[in-house]
Symmetry: C2
Subunit: 294 residues, 2 copies
């Protein structure tokens, strides 16, 4: 089984187009020790032939070109069989609309997430007769095969989150999940949890047993945005458990733990920051684009 992290930043990427914070400005002018990052996504394959994307970020076009095995092997077609979504946030799903060129795809998510996507008029572009998308719903807590051979199975575990801003509707347990992926032959398991609003007992059980946790690394502190003059909202209001608080918990779980969905304001992006050292000292890694994790 292979898993490559294609992107590791939160919505907006790093640097972000309208952000001149110390991290973004410092990255642009070379004053901080940090890597540029595209928006969070990963590519997973059991056999190296047939691939699934975990999230289709707005940066999906460049992300696909960054990994050679994702290139087509015929005049039209793609080794990418489908896209899995943990939620319907735009930074997780907008790239779907860049995969509209008539090649069949399966989109795997909860019924509520699929409904949010299909309510978008732009999504009709995915339903051309020459290569329609198959929308495949996951039932919460039920394992489903990703391929006919059953090499990889996925379970959607409800996790504290919120509906996307644009959906303008009441919250549902299907809004945000952790995707628990199990590969049969190697008995490898991965938990994809880029958005986690707070501690959760079921997620804790899943993380205890897993080989690899890709976990919410959005903000380090609850008031990080306000402190830097970047906006009024707290991490909790945005449904992200601050890393400074989740860290002792996460450090005791999973064989390997990698933070993803890291916001441009987060001090862990700076390779020489005290916060980065604090994370690494307890054995948690900060994800970066191009990391081969399996």
């Amino acid at each position: 089984v292979r898993l490559r992290l294609l992107g590791s930043a939160a919505g907006g990427g790093f640097p972000q187009w309208n952000c001149g914070c110390a991290n973004c400005a410092g990255l642009r002018n070379g004053a901080v020790a940090a890597r540029a990052r595209s928006q969070t996504s990963a590519a997973l394959s059991a056999d190296g032939e047939r691939w699934f994307l975990l999230h289709a970020s707005p940066d999906v076009r460049a992300q696909i070109e960054s990994l050679a095995p994702l290139a087509p092997r015929a005049p039209r077609g793609s080794p990418i069989a489908g896209v899995l979504l943990a939620n319907a946030d735009l930074d997780a799903c907008l790239g779907l609309l860049s995969l509209r060129e008539g090649t069949p795809l399966v989109v795997v998510a909860t019924r509520r997430v699929l409904a949010d996507l299909r309510a978008c008029s732009f999504a009709r572009a995915l339903e051309r007769s020459t290569g329609p998308v198959e929308w495949r719903a996951l039932e919460l807590g039920e394992s489903a095969p990703l391929d006919d051979e059953g090499h990889v199975r996925v379970t959607a575990l409800p996790v504290p989150g919120k509906p996307p801003f644009y959906a303008a509707r009441a919250a549902s347990p299907e809004d945000n999940v952790a995707l628990v992926l199990k590969e049969a032959r190697s008995a490898t398991s991965v938990v994809w949890a880029p958005t986690v609003a707070r501690r959760d007992a079921a997620l804790e059980r899943a993380l205890r047993e897993t080989d690899l946790a890709l976990f919410d690394g959005t903000l380090f502190r609850d008031d990080e945005l306000a402190r830097q003059g970047l906006g009024p909202r707290t991490a909790r209001q945005m449904a992200h458990w601050p890393v400074g608080e989740s860290l002792p918990w996460l450090a005791r779980l999973a064989r390997r733990r990698v933070l993803v969905h890291v916001n441009n304001s987060n001090p862990i992006l700076r390779e020489d920051s005290p916060e980065r050292r604090q994370v690494e000292q307890v054995g948690v890694e900060v994800g970066h684009d191009g990391m081969d994790l399996l």
Copy 2:
């Protein structure tokens, strides 16, 4: 006045994620003499301080980072004041949804194009209270100022095209326009016409008088896609006048003529192709990312 071509390819870019045609495969393995291209967009400024994007392509994030004057000069904010759209095709407008981080923007297009965008549920992400988008409608044929000082004026000229696939509605003259931009102090004019389905008399008059024409270079031949096994549709069915047919007409118009919105299948992308020579011999240029045109 400054104008930088940020992207020059048609929808999907070059190479395109699901395309293994001779051009795309050749670009990936280095076998063809060609440059990679992101999706068509340009940045325009009268004073170098305040900028407008012509189209917000799906590649907008990387495109903004590619031009230093577009970087923010404060913790939050942007020198980008607005986005102008010639149509509501996804490759022209999808990037708007990547500009949703709470910085005010004006979106300038015909009423019909604005209605198609606002009918998309995802567009609610642009209407946050902290930085709402202003949707500004252009009346066909009427000149409107882009700034309070009136340095730049824009006129939407109806041009043969079609409604976007996702809109699933009857055609309107407001579906597709050429944007005629005039800068007062330097008396410079630019025509932005990335989609032109066929010869048109009013467009011919506008192009005759202009300094710079950015013109539909999508496909070279009407049956280009079918010939290469890339799909059943002709250039005309996609509302693109083939370059091989428009070329003698275009070559007599405008002071400078640059082809944009070039599809990955188009032989003019290969710097040593007979078609590329044919274009250049009559004084028409093939646009590429990063070209400074004014």
